[in-house]
Symmetry: C4
């Protein structure tokens, strides 16, 4: 899993032991992303004694399913942004690895507000709290992925082959989420359910391929 | 984990940063497949107070074990089809990565209908609902893996080395599941238990090696 | 994660698409091994209302901890045997991949009998059933890893560089477990607790490095 | 996932089959680290019937969140040390792989004392026991990572390219944790809550990049 990056070997042979290898950080991150996204299913369920009308009981759980899909889409979008970032990296530095751990902390936390949301969607006051907490977590993930990329650009970790245009596209791409989340958290204080759909919209926005960007020719 | 594909480097050196790397998508997918297939075990258990006749209590859970094995075989078969697809790929495009995320959504969802099925197998009405939901999930996974492959062929992602015959075999291989699942979901409305065996048969059909195909000399 | 095996590329360039790649099978297997071994911790816990004497409550759970360590050691030993096998492989065939899925089914099942054992260790009759079921699962894993290796040898999947002596050492190494498990399952019908220690002894036997064998110079 | 290490191939071509491959051990370890760090989220939750004051109920769980963050930081720090070690390795021997399994046993165990701590933080006596058990587990992980490195140095597994200075820095780096944990476990017997913060401080100390050391230029 840890093949030494051939390009790095050639460019900075003497510095190999001095910087942490990109490959293993990606492997570990992929593991955390994959587990967090798959653990979401453990939050799904129907109440005991649903046997008489199982179809009705399952359908009544639609907020759980909605939260499940939105969280899945969000983690998927963060993972996709993460791959877009590391694709442009020549190497990582110590700060990058720590910021990455912070991002993983937030990503692996997502199943908790998802569960809170699913459990309290029908309850007036709790619904508002759960939606806001959920939105704050997604906002934090979004902030950290943007910080990660900006650090990479500033610290000169980006590969020489990446054009300025590509770097700018990615920088822009990773920004609007912040504003979006803040707006939707505010909306959610009045209309919690609308907010969940809003979080879904942001995630799907990130999932839609860029024209001419990361999507290749 | 993310060694740059050597062949790609040589063919499309300038486009490296433009397309998402196949390797990391495979790593992430393998993670989700492995976790979904292993989480199934958490659904197994015996009711409290089974100590007096533990053997009887375990044996009485046979539908749980059946659902466990069928789900394991199905996820295993989807994983196997996934490896067969990516084996033929030269690169992936943005649409492929999104379709792949959709497939992973369905695969990571499988533990939920498996649990529903195991819990409600003896209850007349619920059994029917659970079996149909289970079958629909497996059908969806089957549809998505077929869609994934067809997209790869149409978008020209397949390696030049893959012969037309190999492509045709894989296309045919990935198709019959759809009809099979639809038939068995219908059967399951009348005979739920028979349907579970039917889902198992489909999975094992996919698991049996192709004569002369993927199985090599 | 799926770098094409360089040696294979050179030896059988035209057959690349015909056999399933070893690397991805190892990646998927490592995922299942890692998850199964880590899920074991979810079975640990103390009964509610243990706050008055938490130390006592934790210590009273010693059979759970014993089962945890034995299962961990067993999965670790199976993983180690698995790496020893794939280290000698030049390629895998379709049968090998299916046998490997069967092995993973058993490995990912281990948390269930571990939980049964931990829950019923103090209950006379149940203890016997749980210990036997536990032993049968470990036996099955042991049988399958031996079958996997024998299939690899017979089907000519072993690398040309591996000496006959190395192959023989590994074949012998993977055999005695079978007899050991059968003996201990029988003992366990009379003395369940002794059997758990016995399963631990087998696992540790597999974990002890071979003199002159896999352990290097 | 298991590309043969090119450097090793060139240095010790004939010994390839004789020593266990570093890559697969890293892959398996990364899997266990990633799962253990992500499973921590399953311990978080609010008591039933918290709907009336969900915000209050969440805030009242702050010790759970604290334990979550400290455990996350600790596993992250152990993972980081692990990457620092394997970065310097030329190969692994059989003893290293077994010591590594022992380390993974302790790492994958961490979610259990974390849960104990979160559940019993407000209860006078239990709090003390839980804090000590928690500290002992972290201490054990710390001891094992130090042992792992010392074994690697003594057994000559370190790459020729690593300077003595680098080796010394890492050796020193991995030592102070031991004393720190012992002091804090003792403090925790009198002031349990202070100890949790103390464990957090140790983890963050490990996470802070070394000036001139592992952090590169």
């Amino acid at each position: 899993m840890i093949p030494r990056d051939r390009r790095q070997d050639e460019d900075v042979p003497s510095g190999l032991a001095h910087h942490i290898r990109t490959a293993r950080m990606e492997a570990f991150s992929d593991g955390v992303f994959a587990i967090a996204i798959t653990l979401l299913v453990l939050e799904l369920g129907v109440p005991d004694g649903s046997a008489d009308d199982l179809l009705g009981a399952v359908l009544a759980q639609w907020p759980s399913f909605l939260a499940y899909v939105v969280s899945f889409a969000t983690i998927g979008a963060v993972w996709l942004s993460h791959t877009a970032i590391t694709e442009h990296l020549d190497r990582v530095d110590a700060t990058f690895v720590r910021l990455n751990l912070l991002l993983l902390l937030v990503v692996s936390f997502i199943p908790f507000p998802t569960r809170l949301l699913a459990e309290h969607i029908a309850e007036q006051n709790a619904e508002r709290v759960a939606t806001a907490l959920y939105g704050l977590t997604l906002l934090l993930a979004s902030v950290l992925i943007a910080v990660l990329w900006r650090h990479a650009v500033r610290a000169g970790l980006v590969r020489a082959e990446s054009t300025d245009e590509e770097v700018d596209i990615l920088t822009k791409r990773l920004t609007p989420g912040l504003v979006g989340y803040l707006v939707i958290i505010a909306i959610g204080l009045a209309f919690p359910l609308a907010a969940i759909f809003g979080y879904g919209v942001i995630a799907f926005f990130f999932l839609v391929p860029l024209p001419g960007g990361r999507s290749g020719r």
